[in-house]
Symmetry: C2
Subunit: 218 residues, 2 copies
């Protein structure tokens, strides 16, 4: 998993089961890049809110599609405090005791101030990065946004200064005395797999799905 | 999708793209039951926090494994305000324009006050419901928690009074003038699939994986 770095801040440090914490940017980046969507949390009138939305990393910046959160986040002109989380589920960890059941996963939490991207060029670039995050190279194939569409889109930019990853891998860790119990234990790996492509009902004649769709992988 | 009910509260109402909102409990319940894990958000020192964790529905109650959030949430003796979100990703919606790219998904957001489950019997029951949520019937096969394990576990109980679902299905909705563009469009369905079972390295002789694992489905 690479060498371990220190947590950038106290709240970014993994307190519970600290051996699962990772602070290397390359580990954080790989998880952010693989995850198809994120969970954007913010505080609204003192209450917690969280919505699923699309993100994409661009170097040291995380772009987050913010429309669902727009009413609140637009109000914060100088940057709204957000917490962005992504999780990749890798498997079910089935132990001999209920207590030691777990999941194998890779997750990232990013804390920071979200800035609204309002420069049209940066917004266009962010839109490109977001589309290519979902399907590699897709921005070369599609009609890119016009001025009106850019205005209707809300994109947030969050720096990756305060991010941490948490990873669990491997078998269950049962209590020593439970290993003798006649109970099956193991890991059931899980992964996201593409199904059969559904062409658009109004697809133009002779158009075939491109290779980045037919051979889709994360 | 069943008849549409009204949103239980204003904040539980889907404001953006309101046609995607669903407030029927059976729809909310089915999504909560299918999702393997949730995202638990709360406010800590005025800042948003969100972590992935395991949940399970028990009638009108959502149990949430709260250890990662424990330091904060234990402090809120009379109930901490939380927001719990689950999302099932069903596919990538690839439109002719970047702007109309989307995802098919089913998500639920629950708002409420989280109560810490401290009665040992209720906690034992919650642990059982949580294990069975991950693998149906697993609680019959494993060693259930002892007193010490129950003490070490933090489980939150959140009522399902204020919950809403949001669902997107179907093809892309492109702008009328874009349908003539020579761009392939369609939906790439995605689903979570089990891989090959990995038996525990210290598995007892003659133990075979049970059917709820070999034929695992959600």
């Amino acid at each position: 998993m690479g060498a371990m770095s220190d947590a950038p801040t106290d709240r970014a440090q993994v307190k519970r089961l600290p051996e699962r914490g990772r602070y290397d940017r390359e580990i954080v980046d790989a998880i952010l890049d693989e995850a198809l969507f994120c969970h954007l949390a913010w505080v609204q009138d003192g209450s917690p809110r969280v919505v699923p939305t699309i993100h994409a990393r661009d170097g040291d910046t995380l772009f987050v599609h913010g429309s669902q959160a727009s009413r609140t986040l637009r109000a914060a002109r100088d940057g709204a405090e957000v917490c962005v989380e992504v999780t990749l589920l890798d498997g079910l960890v089935l132990a001999r005791s209920a207590f030691h059941h777990s999941m194998n996963y890779r997750s990232v939490v990013v804390y920071g101030l979200a800035r609204e991207v309002d420069d049209p060029d940066e917004k266009w670039h962010a839109q490109k990065v977001l589309v290519d995050h979902v399907v590699r190279g897709r921005s070369d194939d599609v009609r890119m946004p016009n001025e009106l569409e850019l205005k209707q889109t809300m994109i947030l930019s969050v720096p990756l200064d305060e991010a941490s990853a948490k990873i669990r891998t491997g078998p269950a860790k049962d209590d020593e005395e439970d290993y003798d119990l006649p109970i099956w234990a193991g890991v059931l790996p899980l992964r996201v797999e593409p199904g059969d492509i559904v062409p658009d009902p109004r697809l133009g004649d002779g158009l075939e799905p491109p290779e980045n769709v037919t051979r889709y992988t994360r």
